[in-house]
C-alpha cells in the first residue's frame, strides 16, 4: 500500500499559522481591553504580542519559501505555482504568485510594518498604543482567518503528489513579477498604519495633531509604493502584453488607483490641519476611506466580482467574508468619527476663495470624485448584473471621457495651489503670482498650436459629441505648472539668500532640506506635469498592421529585390531580415529580425518574438521597442509561418510615452525629499537630534526595502538572457475561419492585419465593439489581434457595405444598424465597449458636477463665516503683547527654528 504523502514543512507551517491566529486574537483583545481599561500592563503585553506575532508569521513565510526552494510538491500551492525549471528568484516570487501566498505575503508585510511603527511610536503614543495594536491585530485576524479557513497555502495532496509542478504563468515569468506585486502590496499595507492610528485617536479621544505627525511618514510610504506599483504595472503591460499601451482601466489596475486618489487627498489636507487646525474630521474620514479602498481593491481581485486578466479567480465565500470585514470597519470607523464630531471642530476658518485652503479643498473634491467615479464604473458590470441580470461593461473610452477633464483640473491645481497664500491672497498678489506661469502657458499653447498640428487633435471630453484640443490644453497646463514651480523655487531661494546671506547653492540645499515637505511636494507636482506630457502623446499615436511574405535574407538568396521585405510607417522604414527559432526547457521562441531605419540612418536591429510554452499555456509576445524621448517605435510579431517565412507585424508609434516613466522618476525624487529624515537634517545643520528625528530615521530604512529588491531584479533579468538556439517547426500563420473561432483567443494566428477598417465609420464601430472570444479580456475589435476579432471585423465591414456612407446621415444610420445587429446576435449590450444607457453617463455627471456645486455653496458659507470670525477677532480687545520679555523669548524661538 502506498504511504500517504507527508510534508514536515506543511505540518510545521500549518501549526505556525494556527499559533499566529491565536496570538493575533489574544494580542488584539489584550491591546483593546488594556487601553480601554487603562491597564498599562495589558497594553505593554500587547505590544510584545505584536512583535511575537510578526515573528510567527515570519516563520510561516520562511517555511513556505523553503518549500518552494526545495520543490516540495506535496504542497498544492507549491505544485500549482512552481516547477523544477524555474530559477531561484522566480521560485521566491511564486510565494505571491497566486491567491493563497499573496494573502500570507500581505500578513507578513503588515506584520513587518506594524512592528516598525509600534517600536518607533510606542513611547510617544503610549496612552493609545493599545488601540493601535488592537486595530492592526484585528486586520491580521481577518486575513489569517481567510488563510486558515479558505486558502491555506500549506494544503497538501492526499494521494499521488506530482513529481513536478505546473510552473508560474509565463506572463508572470519576468523581472516585473519580482517588484510589481510587492510594491503594490507594500502600498496597500502601508495604508493600514495611518488607519490604525486614526482609529486609536478616535477611540482614545486623543484628537490633537500628534497622531497626524506619526502617520505622515507612513502616508508618504503608502503614496510612494502605490505610485511605484502602478507605474511598474503600466511598464509591465507596455513591455509584455503587446498591445502598445500601458493603462487600460483594468479593474485590478483601478483597485490600486482608487486608494492612491484618497491618499493623495489626505496628504494635502493633512497640511491644512497642521497649518490651520482645520479639516480634522475630513482627514480621519480620508484615512478610513483609503484603508477601506485598499481592502476593497483586494476584495475585487480575490472574489471574482470583476473580470480581469489580473484577477485571482472567483470565490463567493471569500467575497462574503471581505464584505463583512469591510462593512465592520467602515461602520466602526465612521461611527467613531460621528461620535467624536463635537471634538473635531475646526480651529480655523476659510476666509477667502483665493486661498491655499480652498485650492486644497477643491483638489480634494476632485480626487475624491475620481476615486468614486473609477470605483462606480469598475463595479458597474457587477451592479448591473445583479440588478438587471445583464452585465454592462465599460471600456477605456468611457473612463477617458471623464478622467480627462478631471485630470486637467487637477493639473491646473497642481500649478495654482502653490501660488496661493494661506488664509487669503489679495487681488494684487494674485496677479503678481499668476503672471509668469500664465504667460508660460499662453506662449506654449501659441507656439505648439501653430507649429505642431498634432497638438490640435480633437479629443472627446465628457461626451463623444464634445471634442476639444486636449493635447494643446494639456501642454499649456504643463507649462503653467512648470512656471509655477520654477517661480516658487526662485522666489524661495531669493528669500532664503536674503535671510541667511548664503550663496545660491547653499541656500537651495538649505531651502529644500528645511522646507522639504513643501519643496519635495513641488517636485512631485512637477512629476505630475511630466506624466501628463506622456499621457497627451497618446492622442496622436499610430497603429498599423503589415504582412511580409518573405524576409530579406530569402529574397537576396533568390536574387529578388529586397524592397518587398520593407514597409514604412510615419517616416520609419522596417526591413524584415529573417525569422529564427530558439528553444529552452520552458518554451520555443520565434524571433523576427527587423532593421529599423529613419531616412538613411539605421537606428536599431529589433527582435520581436512569439513564445510558445511547452506546458501548453497561451503563447505570449515579446515586443521590440525602440525608445526615444519624442516617441517609441513598438513592434509586435503577431503571426508567422516557419515554412514560408511569412511574418505579420503590428507597429505602434507612441509619441512621448517615455515621459510617463520619466515623470515617475521625478515623483520618486520628490517623495524621497519629503521623506528625508530629520536626523539627516540635524546632522547637516549641526543641531541636536530630536526624538522625532530618531523616529523619522526609520523612514529611510523602509526605503531600503526597494533597494533590497534590486539584486533579485538583477538576478531575474539575468535569467532572461537568450537561451540555446535550436530550430524547430512552428504553427502556421493563418487558419480557416471555423478553426479560428473554435480556438477562441489565439493572437498568434496572424489575423491581426486582416479586415482592418476602411473608413472612419468602420474604425469608430470597431472601437465601440468588443471581442467576444472570451480570452482577450474584452479588447475592442480594433485592438484585439486574435482571429476571432478578425472575423468580427469582417462582419462589420460586410454590414457597412450595405450603406451609403457618403450621404448626410448615412454614417449615423449605419453605426446604429451595425450596433443593433451585434446586440441582437449577442443578446444584450455586453458586446458594446460603452453602454448606451443615459444613466451610465448621467450618474457620474450628476455626482461630479453636482458635487462641485455643493462644494461651492459650502465653501461660500465657510468663507462668509470665516470672514465674520476674522472681523470679530480683529474688533475684540486684544491681548497685550507689550510684555517684551515674552516677545523676546518668542523671537529667540523663531530664530532657533529654521523652518
Amino acid at each position: 500500500m502506498n504511504e500517504l504523502p507527508s510534508s514536515p514543512i506543511a505540518t510545521v507551517g500549518t501549526i505556525a499559522l494556527y499559533l499566529s491566529y491565536v496570538l493575533a486574537a489574544a494580542t488584539a483583545a489584550t491591546g483593546i481591553v488594556g487601553n480601554a481599561r487603562k491597564n498599562p500592563r495589558l497594553v505593554a503585553a500587547s505590544v510584545y504580542g505584536l512583535y511575537g506575532f510578526f515573528a510567527m508569521i515570519a516563520i510561516t513565510s520562511a517555511l513556505l519559501v523553503y518549500a518552494f526552494l526545495t520543490h516540495d510538491f506535496t504542497i498544492k500551492y507549491v505544485a500549482a505555482t512552481s516547477d523544477t525549471s524555474m530559477t531561484t528568484s522566480y521560485k521566491i516570487t511564486a510565494f505571491w504568485g497566486a491567491l493563497d501566498g499573496s494573502l500570507l505575503f500581505w500578513v507578513f508585510v503588515l506584520g513587518a510594518f506594524s512592528t516598525i511603527a509600534i517600536a518607533v511610536n510606542a513611547r510617544r503614543h503610549r496612552d493609545m498604543i493599545g488601540f493601535v495594536v488592537g486595530t492592526i491585530m484585528v486586520v491580521q485576524v481577518f486575513f489569517i482567518t481567510l488563510l486558515i479557513f479558505n486558502k491555506d497555502p500549506f494544503t497538501t495532496f492526499l494521494t499521488d503528489p506530482p513529481t513536478n509542478g505546473q510552473g508560474l504563468n509565463p506572463l508572470l515569468q519576468n523581472y516585473w513579477m519580482v517588484i510589481h506585486p510587492p510594491s503594490l502590496y507594500i502600498g496597500f499595507v502601508a495604508a493600514t498604519i495611518p488607519f490604525a492610528f486614526a482609529i486609536a485617536a478616535l477611540a482614545s479621544g486623543r484628537l490633537d495633531d500628534l497622531w497626524l505627525g506619526s502617520v505622515r511618514t507612513w502616508s508618504l510610504i503608502c503614496f510612494f509604493f502605490l505610485s511605484f506599483g502602478l507605474i511598474l504595472g503600466g511598464r509591465w503591460a507596455y513591455e509584455e502584453l503587446g498591445w502598445g499601451g500601458y493603462w487600460a482601466w483594468d479593474p485590478v489596475e483601478n483597485a490600486g488607483l482608487i486608494p492612491w486618489f484618497t491618499m493623495t487627498a489626505f496628504l494635502h489636507t493633512a497640511v491644512i490641519q497642521e497649518q490651520r487646525g482645520m479639516m480634522k474630521a475630513w482627514n480621519l474620514v480620508l484615512v478610513i476611506l483609503t484603508f477601506f479602498f485598499t481592502i476593497f481593491g483586494t476584495f475585487m481581485t480575490r472574489s471574482g466580482v470583476v473580470q480581469s486578466v489580473h484577477a485571482f479567480g472567483k470565490d463567493d465565500q471569500i467575497a462574503l467574508e471581505f464584505i463583512v470585514f469591510m462593512l465592520f470597519f467602515l461602520i466602526v470607523g465612521l461611527g467613531l468619527v460621528i461620535y467624536r464630531l463635537p471634538r473635531l471642530r475646526n480651529n480655523g476658518a476659510f476666509e477667502s476663495f483665493a486661498s491655499r485652503e480652498t485650492a486644497f479643498l477643491v483638489n480634494n473634491w476632485i480626487l475624491l470624485a475620481c476615486a468614486v467615479f473609477v470605483l462606480f464604473v469598475t463595479m458597474l458590470p457587477t451592479i448591473t448584473e445583479h440588478l438587471f441580470g445583464e452585465r454592462k461593461t465599460i471600456g477605456a473610452a468611457f473612463f477617458n471621457l471623464w478622467m480627462t477633464p478631471l485630470g486637467l483640473l487637477l493639473l491646473f491645481l497642481a500649478g495654482a495651489a502653490p501660488l496661493l497664500a494661506w488664509r487669503k491672497t489679495t487681488g494684487e498678489r494674485l496677479i503678481a503670482q499668476f503672471l509668469w506661469p500664465t504667460a508660460a502657458a499662453v506662449v506654449t499653447m501659441a507656439l505648439l498650436g501653430a507649429g505642431v498640428p498634432a497638438t490640435r487633435a480633437l479629443t472627446p471630453v465628457l461626451d463623444d459629441a464634445l471634442r476639444l484640443p486636449v493635447p494643446l490644453f494639456t501642454f499649456g497646463l504643463c507649462a503653467f505648472v512648470f512656471g509655477s514651480i520654477v517661480q516658487e523655487y526662485i522666489r524661495g531661494l531669493g528669500a532664503r539668500m536674503k535671510q541667511t546671506g548664503s550663496d545660491p547653492f547653499t541656500s537651495l540645499v538649505g531651502l529644500v532640506l528645511i522646507k522639504r515637505r513643501k519643496y519635495g511636494g513641488y517636485v512631485i507636482h512637477l512629476a505630475i506635469a511630466v506624466l501628463f506630457i506622456g499621457f497627451a502623446g497618446k492622442t496622436w499615436d499610430t497603429m498599423v498592421d503589415r504582412t511580409i511574405a518573405k524576409p530579406a535574407v530569402e529574397l537576396a538568396a533568390s536574387k529578388q529585390p529586397v524592397d518587398a521585405s520593407r514597409f514604412t510607417v510615419r517616416g520609419y522604414t522596417f526591413q524584415y531580415e529573417a525569422l529564427e527559432q530558439v528553444a529552452d526547457d520552458n518554451k520555443i521562441a520565434t524571433y523576427a529580425h527587423v532593421t529599423l531605419s529613419r531616412g538613411k540612418e539605421k537606428l536599431e536591429l529589433m527582435h520581436p518574438a512569439r513564445n510558445s510554452y511547452r506546458r501548453g499555456t497561451e503563447p505570449t509576445s515579446e515586443v521590440a521597442i525602440h525608445e526615444r524621448l519624442s516617441e517609441d517605435v513598438y513592434v509586435v510579431l503577431t503571426g508567422f509561418d516557419t515554412d514560408t517565412k511569412t511574418a505579420n507585424f503590428r507597429v505602434y508609434i507612441n509619441p512621448l510615452v517615455n515621459w510617463v516613466w520619466i515623470g515617475f522618476v521625478f515623483l520618486a525624487i520628490g517623495t524621497f525629499i519629503c521623506l528625508i529624515p530629520q536626523g539627516l537634517v540635524d546632522l547637516v545643520s549641526g543641531r541636536p537630534k530630536s526624538a522625532l528625528g530618531r523616529a523619522a530615521d526609520v523612514a529611510g530604512l523602509l526605503l531600503i526595502v526597494g533597494a533590497l529588491l534590486a539584486p533579485m531584479v538583477a538576478a531575474a533579468r539575468a535569467d532572461d538572457e537568450p537561451p540555446l538556439r535550436v530550430a524547430q517547426a512552428g504553427p502556421p500563420a493563418e487558419h480557416a475561419d471555423a478553426e479560428v473561432r473554435a480556438r477562441g483567443h489565439a493572437d498568434d494566428s496572424g489575423w491581426s492585419h486582416r479586415y482592418r477598417p476602411d473608413s472612419p465609420t468602420a474604425e469608430k464601430l470597431m472601437k465601440q465593439l468588443v471581442c467576444m472570444c472570451g480570452g482577450c479580456q474584452r479588447e475592442t475589435l480594433f485592438d484585439c489581434k486574435c482571429g476571432f476579432a478578425a472575423t468580427e471585423r469582417k462582419k462589420v465591414l460586410d454590414l457597412l457595405a450595405g450603406f451609403d456612407l457618403t450621404k448626410p446621415g448615412g454614417p449615423g444610420a449605419a453605426e446604429k444598424a451595425v450596433r443593433d445587429a451585434f446586440i441582437r446576435e449577442y443578446g444584450g449590450e455586453d458586446v458594446l465597449a460603452t453602454p448606451r444607457g443615459k444613466s451610465t453617463w448621467l450618474v457620474p455627471y450628476l455626482a461630479i458636477v453636482g458635487g462641485l456645486v455643493v462644494l461651492g455653496v459650502i465653501t461660500a458659507s465657510f468663507v462668509k463665516r470665516g470672514r465674520a470670525a476674522a472681523a470679530a477677532a480683529a474688533a475684540a480687545p486684544g491681548v497685550s503683547i507689550a510684555d517684551e520679555k515674552y516677545a523676546d523669548r518668542l523671537d529667540d524661538e523663531l530664530r532657533d527654528n529654521d523652518a
Binding site: Y51, Q275, G878, S880, I881
Partner: protein
C-alpha cells in the same frame, strides 16, 4: 452649626516622572539568552545541510531567527505583567506637551507667514496683520508653559495671571506718564533753546492693545473664565511698590502669601 471643612493648602507640585520604556527596565538576561541561542541553531542547520549555504539554508536560518524572536517576544509579553510601569502611562505628556505642540505649531505658522511675505504671496501689510494675531497667541502659550512648568494649580495660575495683568497695567501707566513728561520737557527745551535730558528721543510708546488671537488659534489651555479676585485678597493700590521683576515665580509667591494670609485670617475669625 458646623463650619464647612476648609480645604487643605495645596501640596507642592510633583514633577512628572520620566517616561519608561515599554515593558520596563527588564534585565539583559532574556536578550542575551536569545542572542546565545541563535548561532547554535544556525550551525545546526548548516551542518544538517553539510555546510552548503544554498538559498534554502539561508531561509531556514532566517526561520530559526524568527523562532528565537518569537520566543523572546512572548517572554517579554509575559514579563510585562510583572514589570513596573509609570503611573502616568495614560496621561502621556499632559497639558504641558499639548502646549509645547501648540507652540511649535504657532512658531511654524509664523515662519510660514514670514516666508510667504518674503516670497511675495502676502503683502507686508497683510503679513503684519496676521503676525500680530499669531504672535499674541504664541506669547500666551509661552506664558502658560512657564506657569505650568512651576507646577501651579489652576487657582494659582488664575491668580498669577491677574497679578501679572495688573502689573502690566501699572507699568503701562508709568510709561505713559514718563512719555508725557518727556514730551513736555522736549517742548520746553525747544521753546527755551536748551536740549532736553532725553536728547530729543521720541518717548517710548505706550504698549498698544493689539487684536486678540483670531478664531484659528487653538483653545486656550487655561480655563476660559477668569475667577474674580477673592475678597480676601488685598487689592493692589496705586501706591503699592511694584516688584523689581514681574517674574512668574515672584507673582506666584505673592499669590501664595496672600492666600496663606487670607487662610490664617479666616482661621482667626
Amino acid at each position: 452649626m458646623r463650619e464647612p471643612a476648609r480645604p487643605e493648602p495645596p501640596l507642592p507640585p510633583r514633577p512628572l516622572p520620566p517616561a519608561r520604556a515599554v515593558g520596563g527596565a527588564s534585565s539583559l538576561i532574556a536578550p542575551l539568552i536569545a542572542a546565545a541561542l541563535l548561532p547554535p541553531g544556525w550551525m545546526f542547520i548548516a551542518h544538517a545541510h553539510r555546510w552548503h549555504l544554498t538559498p534554502s539554508v539561508i531561509v531556514l536560518c532566517l526561520a530559526w531567527t524568527a523562532v528565537v524572536g518569537a520566543g523572546y517576544a512572548l517572554v517579554r509579553a509575559g514579563n510585562a505583567f510583572l514589570d513596573e510601569v509609570p503611573d502616568d502611562w495614560f496621561t502621556a505628556g499632559g497639558n504641558q506637551a499639548e502646549l509645547e505642540r501648540e507652540k511649535k505649531s504657532l512658531v511654524r505658522a509664523i515662519k510660514e507667514i514670514e516666508f510667504d511675505r518674503d516670497t511675495g504671496k502676502l503683502s507686508p501689510a497683510d503679513a503684519a496683520a496676521l503676525l500680530v494675531a499669531y504672535r499674541a497667541r504664541a506669547i500666551e502659550v509661552i506664558k502658560a508653559l512657564d506657569l505650568g512648568a512651576i507646577g501651579m494649580t489652576p487657582r494659582e495660575r488664575i491668580l498669577a495671571e491677574i497679578q501679572a495683568r495688573a502689573q502690566l497695567e501699572r507699568q503701562a501707566g508709568k510709561a505713559k506718564a514718563k512719555a508725557a513728561k518727556a514730551t513736555k520737557g522736549a517742548k520746553a527745551t525747544k521753546d527755551n533753546g536748551k536740549p532736553s535730558k532725553d536728547n530729543g528721543k521720541p518717548a517710548p510708546e505706550a504698549p498698544a492693545a493689539t487684536p486678540a488671537a483670531t478664531a484659528d488659534a487653538a483653545p486656550a489651555a487655561e480655563p476660559a473664565a477668569v475667577e474674580p479676585p477673592s475678597v480676601d485678597t488685598p487689592a493692589p493700590t496705586a501706591e503699592a511698590p511694584a516688584p523689581a521683576a514681574a517674574t512668574p515665580a515672584a507673582v506666584i509667591e505673592e499669590a501664595r502669601a496672600s492666600d496663606a494670609a487670607s487662610s490664617s485670617e479666616e482661621v482667626a475669625s
